[in-house]
Amino acid sequence: MKIVTWAFCVILAVVFVVAAVPKLIDPGSFANDLLNYRLLPENLVGLVALFVPALELAIAAALLWPRYQRGAALISLVLLVGFAAAMAQARIRGIDLSCGCFGAAFESKVSWLTVARSTLLAAMSAVPLFTLPLSAADARGRQHV
């Protein structure tokens, strides 16, 4: 189980890095994608376009740092569920837009497939969240048992 948990952490970390880098390179395009979701006021999208990739990078680093893996998994779960919900509302409202998931580097339209992809990644985040020990002390405790 430990190998599976670590594998999921590594996969998620890679996905977050791949998603964050193009957004940092071209924040204007990502801001445009965010605007097209029609969820945020126009004067907020610029700030969100800066902080989302920063959060993605922080999550990626924390997922590979045993001390912070559970916390990273929790934020990852919340973030990915949020992404899936934003895409689902766009599909339901008939808004035709680029998902912006991986910045301008890998453009793809929002579809139920992109919603499913985010949901799958969210489910992967739940694995380290519920299987890893809570802290170093807990980890030591488990080893003694």
Binding site: N32, L50, R70
Partner: protein, 173 residues
């Protein structure tokens, strides 16, 4: 249990703080990014006419107002249906960009000589551009884009209404 929850909260807060620090560093070094449509994308409904000018001519709100009520002119709202219902140009047809443009909807569109498409003029307005392009592909040659979209129309005090689409047939719903 409480200790576990506190530990998890503490971890999460530290990660968020790191992200916040990184975000602020980016903000200080690069400033707030402005939404930029991808290269090649046409801002069909934006305030600044671009490539759309060559493909679909712009029409000013004042000129479009003069055509309202003309049976040969149809106003097409390319925003999502829920936004249409909250407010739209009087008598406009609701036609989100991913609508099925076959059957009755197509007949209805072909009954008009001129189509004036509009949206809310926000951001890149991809959907509006796509709809105008699809209409041209279907042989509707006179498709114009309302300059500055619905906000300019409403600001000028021109006729607008809310509620469901009266012109929509089953195929456009």
């Amino acid at each position: 249990m409480l200790r576990a929850a506190m530990s998890l909260t503490q971890q999460s807060l530290r990660i968020c703080t790191a992200a916040l620090v990184l975000g602020v560093a980016l903000l200080v070094s690069r400033g707030i990014p402005k939404p930029v449509p991808p290269e090649g994308e046409v801002q069909a409904c934006s305030a600044t006419p671009s490539l759309a000018e060559a493909q679909s001519p712009w029409i000013e709100a004042t000129e479009a107002r003069g055509l309202l009520g003309d049976p040969s002119v149809m106003f097409v709202d390319c925003r999502p249906r829920d936004l249409y219902q909250t407010g739209h140009i009087s008598g406009a047809l609701s036609l989100p960009s991913d609508s099925d443009l076959q059957g009755a909807a197509l007949t209805q569109l072909h009954s008009a000589q001129t189509i004036i498409a509009y949206c809310d003029a926000r951001g890149g307005c991809e959907s509006s551009h796509r709809l105008a392009a699809r209409l041209r592909e279907l042989g509707l040659s006179d498709v114009r884009i309302l300059k500055d979209g619905l906000p300019a129309w409403v600001q000028a005090g021109y006729p607008a209404e809310s509620g469901p689409c009266r012109l929509c047939t089953e195929s456009t719903l």
